[in-house]
Amino acid sequence: MRLDLAHIQRWIAPGARVLDLGCGDGEFLEYLRDNLDVRGMGLEIDHRYITTSIARGLHVVEQDMDKGLGNFPDQSFDTVVMALALQAVHYPERVLDEMLRIGREGIVTFPNFGHWRCRLHLGLLGRMPRSKTMPHTWYNTPNIHYCTVHDFEELCAAKGIKILARDVVDDSTRQPILSRKWPNLFATTAIYHITR
């Protein structure tokens, strides 16, 4: 399983009702269903992913979250997950609001643009960063809203969003000492457990 997903499943209670925004091929929801007895629902726009998820026996709705999530009632899910999609939505701020309207808690993961390699790319090479987690060229990328660990926490503070927990994934070790201590510099993927 993708590392960020392995991390966030610890924050999901057994039997919870989970909405996964951008559920991909459904691997994560399938894991949650089979191991945590989670009642999940996914949102996805990629046609192949939708078919794969449905074949896995998951409930997936074809819907573009950039066009709104108004069809989901207030507080209708325990947890709303958005893994590696924050940087790809048109209005990240609005989506965060919606996540915490629909769910009691939210879990967000995003590639940290503050990572030292990104800084190196931009600062020294003068080029837009590309990496394993961010492989796209600047002119052809679904990722349109990059942010750093600091940026995200500032936004949460400004919006009164409580950060229940923060975790990080880095590309060096299994014991991410550096990235725990200086996440803005060493985390490749930032992981947040948030609530109102």
């Binding site: 997936v60 709705v61 819907q63 069809n71």
Partner: protein, 381 residues
């Protein structure tokens, strides 16, 4: 060795079930006895838990798949989706399709003899609502020994029956597949149906619906009704690619006096005349009314969420991008109500040029998604 392909159900024979127990109808009248004609494809398993009910749309019937004889020209109306290896896989499922009450293909309807008078029911046949069909389908299930459908499936008006099943018989349905349908018709939709009905009733041969006694048929009215319907089942895009402005005869060149005839004109006329020879006018009126009257939430204080709270099955909802008769927005309303009612639901919006008719056609992504969902119905999950 037959000429039918491997994934065809081959030759099928319709069967008739007769019911003597009176059926109370939504209109307040009671049908003392009636017959339902139906076909089945595949085998009912020992646990009797692999049965699928296919509900037909406005002009559909019991013959959904396969052929009636070796030299039958066309297969059943949903042959693309029913058969070995197809979404409704007959290697796995026992598929049942019937002609609804009020139909004109063998089930009791306006052209049947009214036992009280000895002549055809004609316009006096009771008005049918979707719930009446669902109640009669439940009796057919009893008759076939099916306690619970693995799935009830339908497109258009068939999708409305499937939804009705999910809330009126929640314990008798595990999966509900709703294709190109709506919670209720819009005013525009009712308007199209009304024009179709007016075309029929204003045909001098309609005789207030009693044409059966005189041996006449309101063929012109029925053909016109079908032409109107047909336009609404296709999309602007499909009509443009299929016909464009191509001419059948005549010319638009200056100086030519002969009237030009566009291909779309003769196509529509052909569709109309084919249909008027094979369909009953009173049934057409009855079916369009059933469509107009359908309102899933009417008895639930007009709240579709409250209606769907009764359902215990899982749902698959499918719409088509260019369907303007039952547009994707109508399916969004279904999905929104299902989510709010905490019903498990999947939804796919299929890009297709074919308009409302797309639900009958082998559009690759549609078939893939449908198959993927049926895999689950088959017990993988």
């Amino acid at each position: 060795m037959t000429r039918f392909s491997e994934n065809s159900v081959g030759i099928v024979t319709p069967q008739i079930a007769r019911f003597e127990e009176p059926l109370p109808l939504a209109c307040g009248r009671v049908l003392a006895n009636y017959e339902l004609i139906y076909e089945t494809y595949g085998e009912l398993n020992a646990q009797r838990d692999n049965a699928i009910l296919v509900c037909h749309a406005l002009s559909g019937h019991h013959h959904a798949a396969g052929y009636h004889s070796e030299d039958d020209r066309k297969p059943g109306w949903w042959n693309e989706c029913i058969g070995p290896g197809k979404p409704l896989d007959t290697n796995r499922f026992f598929v049942v399709c019937l002609n609804n009450l009020g139909g004109c293909h063998g089930s009791t309807g306006p052209s049947s003899i009214n036992p009280d008078t000895g002549s055809p029911w004609g316009p006096n046949f009771p008005t049918m609502r979707t719930r009446d069909w669902v109640n009669s389908q439940a009796r057919l299930a009893d008759y076939l020994g099916i306690d619970c459908w693995a799935a009830v499936v339908g497109g258009s008006l068939g999708g409305m029956q499937a939804m009705r099943w999910s809330i009126e018989y929640p314990e008798r349905i595990k999966h509900c597949i709703v294709i190109a349908a709506a919670l209720k018709l819009s005013a525009q939709n009712i308007a199209f149906n009304e024009v179709a009905r007016q075309a029929i009733v204003s045909d001098p041969d309609f005789l207030d619906g009693d044409y059966g006694k005189s041996g006449k048929v309101p063929a012109r009215g029925l053909a016109l009704a079908r032409m109107i319907g047909h336009i609404t089942y296709l999309s602007d895009e499909k009509m443009a690619s299929k016909f464009g402005r191509d001419l059948n005869s005549g010319s638009l060149v200056q100086g030519s006096e002969e009237n030009a005839e566009f291909q779309v004109q003769s196509y529509l006329r052909y569709q109309g005349s084919q249909f008027s020879g094979a369909f009953d006018a009173n049934t057409y009126i009855l079916m369009t009314r059933a469509l107009d009257y359908f309102d899933l939430a009417l008895e639930y204080e007009n709240d579709p969420i409250a209606a769907f709270r009764r359902a215990t099955c899982s749902f698959m909802v499918i719409s088509f991008s260019t369907d303007w008769r039952f547009a994707p927005e109508r399916s969004h309303e279904i999905v929104e109500a299902l989510i709010a009612a905490d019903c498990p639901v999947s939804y796919a919006e299929i890009e297709a040029d074919e308009g409302h008719d797309a639900f009958l056609l082998p559009i690759p992504r549609y078939i893939d998604v449908f198959k993927a969902y049926m895999k689950r119905v088959g017990g993988d999950h």
